[in-house]
């Protein structure tokens, strides 16, 4: 009975892993194919089913005039927008979260919990609802199709995530630690950055990771709010899906777009598994 | 209810390697059906590990666990039929007291009349009848703790109730109320109660038998009286009793006599064949009497400080550089600075290399 149960458990794990990993492997394999290997029926294993080449990858930094797809600029645009948006969101979000966690706010019937909910409610609305107001507002300030405009929109989208995670984190930091800092001669601001902040690094890292993931993978807003001047990576990749789709370059570009996230996840996972998150505070 | 046997149980952090580091050294222990036990020791002595082995939270690296002769070592917690009470009360705050108590039975698909009967019986035993319809979240800490216990008791197949410092969050003057209810439950249901604590008062007042542990070993098993009067090691003498037992380094001076700090004291322990490198005399501060004349077993001393503990006074005295604590009644008059302390022979324990000499 126990043996059967265990085998079923492992079978489920294997099935699910296959389901998750297969598309990824498929993309890796496709990125090394050429026109022939893609169109002449399904091929799987390099050197056996098809002859791998690097054309798909080389095309990534060749200009369209040279027959490439050039995603270098969109890539760095994405890096810039995501990094600045995340950074500003984390800074503002952490401060807001600390205030929400430590001080009591009253405005009519509104309390701390309502304010926190207000932040999160930004993410409850379907993006479409926000898209038109954003479009009009950015248009008014001539920020459409600019990096600055995108960063502002990303801050609006990412800060709720930072606030949400950090409020929860700060609530778990005993308020007595802040109080001890005050008693030891820190003013409230010093208590925050000398004592609370150094002990909140794990929370900030988690919040930062979520901001980067959501920022990096956003397609909808960057698609609507940019046209020709500025292009972000997800939009650039989707744009490849034209009349004659270069599946090899598309796959390679998709893998490039995933790479930073894999790297971040890897580093953060190493950091968290060292016990830094749980060990910092009891 | 069941008799619980631990056979050669041990738990090590590195069961594979040759030099094992034990959290719990190999031991044998039998918990009689219906007994009331306390496991007592300082933090990190292995007492919680022992409890967790019985409840199934921890798998011992060696040995077997038997409930009424049946090996349950490999069974999970839920298959073992034990009730557990933790430091902090575990209650379902959204439910009434009644629903809380009924929950384990509802989960096991009992019939409604059977549930009601059992819940009422347990509520009565715990003195919770009047609270049955109240919301569990509105109760005091000791009432919540009773509910945690009650949820364990409604199941009629419970082998033992295991408690891990259940009185931590209870106010001192409510503690006794809960202790009394625990004892009544024990007498009524004949359930085996095993109670883990670091507080000697709780262990002594609660249990028929106390298991004293230190550094992963059982040091002594005995009734509160035995532990108090004849501690088997100096550790037990130190750990049990407030203040700790007085100990003096000494030398043998005849078949029954010891010499320390220029005094000779007669004991009831035969010391003739003793070949220990180090001898100690142990005596409880409660048994030492302050007298004004020299007698058979008296030593001269100087009173250094007298503390008022309410019902008692704690006298700190010095005799030839040895510190001695004496506990006397509040109304005992403490004579001038120089006194004589009487150490009754029947209360003197002799320790050879930290272990009680028995004969």
């Amino acid at each position: 009975m126990r043996v059967l149960y265990t085998s079923l458990k492992y079978l489920a794990v294997v099935l699910w892993s296959t389901f998750v990993i297969a598309p990824f492997l498929w993309a890796v394999s496709t990125s090394f194919k050429d026109f022939q290997s893609v169109t002449n029926g399904a091929t799987y294993i390099p050197w056996v089913d098809f002859e791998p080449n690097l054309e798909g990858w080389r095309a990534l930094w060749k200009s369209p005039a040279q027959g490439g797809v050039d995603i270098v600029e969109p890539f760095f645009n994405s890096v810039f927008v995501t990094a600045s948006g995340s950074l500003i969101s984390i800074v503002l979000g952490t401060l807001a979260a600390y205030a929400l966690s430590r001080f009591t706010f009253k405005a009519g019937f509104i309390r701390n919990g309502d304010i926190t909910f207000f932040f999160i409610s930004q993410r409850i609305m379907p993006p479409v609802v926000l898209a038109i107001p954003f479009f009009i507002m950015l248009g008014k300030f001539s920020l459409l199709d600019t990096l600055a405009g995108l960063i502002i929109v990303y801050i609006v989208l990412l800060m709720p995530i930072a606030v949400w995670i950090m409020v929860d984190f700060f609530n778990k930091v005993p308020v007595e630690i802040d109080e001890t800092a005050l008693i030891d001669g820190c003013n409230p601001l010093q208590a925050f950055y000398k004592v609370v902040l150094p002990n909140s690094i794990p929370g900030i890292i988690v919040a930062g990771m979520f901001c980067m993931i959501f920022g990096w993978t956003d397609f909808f807003f960057s698609f609507i709010l940019t046209f020709t001047e500025v292009q972000l990576l997800p939009v650039a990749i989707v744009a490849l899906n034209s009349s004659i789709t270069p599946w090899w370059s598309l796959s390679a570009a998709a893998l490039v777009s995933v790479a930073p996230l894999v790297l971040v996840a890897f580093i953060v996972e190493r950091y968290l598994s060292k016990g830094n998150l749980s060990g910092a505070l009891k | 209810m069941a008799k619980i046997e631990l056979q050669n149980i041990a738990h090590s952090y590195n069961p594979q390697s040759a030099e094992q580091i034990y959290a719990l050294n190999p031991f044998n222990m039998t918990w009689e059906d219906g007994g009331r036990y306390a496991i007592l020791g300082p933090s990190g002595c292995g007492k919680t590990t022992m409890l967790n082995i019985m409840s199934g939270i921890v798998q011992p690296s060696e040995g077997n666990l038997l409930f009424d002769g049946v090996d349950v070592t490999k069974l999970s917690t839920s298959e073992r039929n034990i009730a557990q009470v933790f430091q902090f009360p575990v209650i379902y705050g959204t439910m009434s007291v009644e629903q809380n108590l009924a929950f384990p039975l509802v989960c096991r698909n009992y019939e409604k009349p059977a549930i009601d009967a059992k819940v009422n019986e347990v509520a009565e035993a715990l003195g919770l009848q009047e609270l049955l319809t109240k919301s569990a979240s509105r109760l005091t800490a000791d009432q919540k703790q009773l509910i945690s216990l009650g949820r364990g008791l409604v199941r009629d197949d419970v082998a033992a109730v295991l408690m891990d410092e259940p009185l931590t969050v209870i106010d001192p003057d409510l503690k006794f109320r809960l202790r009394r209810q625990l004892k009544e439950i024990n007498q009524k249901y004949r359930s085996t109660l095993i109670y883990v604590t670091h507080d000697q008062n709780e262990a002594m007042t609660f249990a028929e038998n106390v298991i004293v542990m230190d550094a992963g070993r059982i040091v002594q098993v005995g009734t509160p009286k035995e532990l108090f009067e004849r501690p088997k090691t100096t550790f037990v003498g130190y750990f049990i009793g407030a203040p700790a037992m007085n100990f003096f380094r000494c030398e043998r001076d005849g078949d029954y006599s010891l010499r320390f700090g220029g005094n000779t004291i007669t004991t009831q322990t035969r010391l003739t064949e003793l070949s220990a490198s180090q001898l100690k005399l142990g005596i409880r501060s409660e048994y030492i009497k302050i007298v004004d004349t020299i007698g058979q077993n008296t030593i001269p001393a100087r009173v250094k400080r007298v503390e008022d503990l309410g019902n008692h006074k704690l006298v700190s005295a010095v005799s030839n550089d040895l510190d001695i604590k004496v506990k006397v009644h509040r109304d005992t008059a403490i004579p001038a600075e120089q006194v004589h302390l009487d150490l009754p022979a029947e209360n003197c324990c002799v320790y050879a290399d930290e272990i009680l000499v028995q004969n």
């Binding site: 109080e179 005050l182 010093q190 004592v195 150094p198 | 670091h198």
Partner: protein
């Protein structure tokens, strides 16, 4: 130098956390705030620290308005019952933190930190991480941080309650030695506790607190001998003082149809009427010619036995000087030592005590 609180009140919701608190404390002394959980002890300490602003009342230290100084400029130190330290800093950096905050020179900081660490017995631990310390050591670090500042007011909020029993005993002794030494001659030390024995043992003054009010302030001896009301009598004794209602008629105390006591000398002046009588456990002992009581619970604690007994409406706890076993329900004969009788009026105020402080 003295710290004076007048009319401190704090009522955040429907309940008073501080209700018109007044006291005067002077330098170089220990004050113990004794009360049950939620009596307002922590609120009071936080108010003194400046972490809570009271709705009303003033605080002055040496005729300066203390209450209007922000926390970070008040010369206070506080140790919490949870082990609160800065987890990201080493032991040395933790203790040095308040001095660095004052921009003291680093060689001066070093000298004072080392001295404080030595006082709490942590020399050699400077570079340890906080998480690598045991609970007792963490609390020592917190204590060192409170000593190093040489603050004028040091607040200790049940600092030992989360430690093992034996460790608590040891640290309590060390605390008293540290605070009676030179180091704290210039400080006012305020310690909060739920444990009457702890309060007695610390010596100094006791402030008994309940429901946000200070019920009584006095030396430990005064509070023990003449508790001014029934609440104080209960809070300052473990087990709580036995209270039972009765009448004084024709020179006798009538507790029930069967129990009548002689009026002792110190109560002779009592007028006829109903009273609440109080007696500590030690005043209730066994005697062949005594009154019949049935045993509800007997608890052995080393050399003594606590006997929970009942006669009709009168439920009391007696203390026997020996170890004896009783069965629940067994009838024992009990004697009340009227020389130890306290009498409270219907408003629960003390009217007569064996120590006759109040008349």
């Amino acid at each position: 130098m003295s710290l004076i609180a007048s009319n401190l009140s704090f009522k955040p919701g429907n309940e008073w956390h501080l209700d018109n608190v007044c006291f005067e404390m002077s330098k170089g002394q220990i004050y113990t705030i004794l009360g049950r959980t939620l009596a307002g002890k922590t609120t009071l300490l936080k108010t003194l620290a400046g972490l809570i602003s009271p709705d009303q009342g003033t605080l002055t230290l040496d005729d300066r308005d203390f209450g209007s100084i922000p926390v970070w400029k008040r010369e206070v130190a506080m140790v919490y019952q949870q082990f609160i330290n800065y987890p990201h800093l080493s032991v040395y950096e933790n203790v040095a933190f308040p001095l660095k905050q004052r921009r003291m020179q680093s060689d001066q900081i070093k000298a004072r930190v080392m001295k404080a660490l030595q006082q709490v017995g942590l020399d050699g631990f400077e570079n340890r991480k906080i998480q690598a310390l045991s609970g007792g050591q963490q609390q020592r670090v917190a204590l060192a941080r409170s000593l190093v500042k040489e603050a004028s007011v040091i607040l200790l909020d049940e600092p030992l309650v989360n430690l093992d029993y034996k460790l608590r005993e040891q640290l309590r002794e060390e605390f008293r030695n540290i605070f009676s030494s030179e180091a704290s001659k210039d400080s006012i030390l305020i310690y909060s506790s739920t444990d009457p024995v702890e309060a007695m043992q610390l010596g100094g003054q006791i402030l008994v607190m309940d429901e946000g009010r200070i019920l009584q302030q006095g030396t430990s001896k005064e509070v023990y001998e003449n508790p001014n009301c029934t609440k104080v009598a209960q809070i300052t004794n473990d087990p709580a003082m036995n209270l039972f209602e009765g009448r004084v008629e024709a020179g006798r105390i009538i507790l029930s149809s069967e129990i009548e006591l002689e009026l002792p000398q110190h109560c002779k002046r009592l007028a006829t009427g109903s009273y609440i009588f109080g007696m500590r456990a030690a005043g209730i002992t066994l005697n062949q010619t005594g009154f019949p009581f049935s045993v509800e619970l007997s608890e052995i604690s080393g050399s003594e036995t606590f006997l929970h007994i009942r006669h009709e409406m009168i439920g009391v706890v007696g203390l026997l000087d020996s170890v004896q076993n009783f069965n629940t329900g067994e009838v024992v004969r009990v004697q009340f030592d009227t020389m130890q009788l306290y009498v409270f009026d219907q408003n629960e105020q003390l009217v007569s005590s064996p120590y006759c402080g109040l008349e």
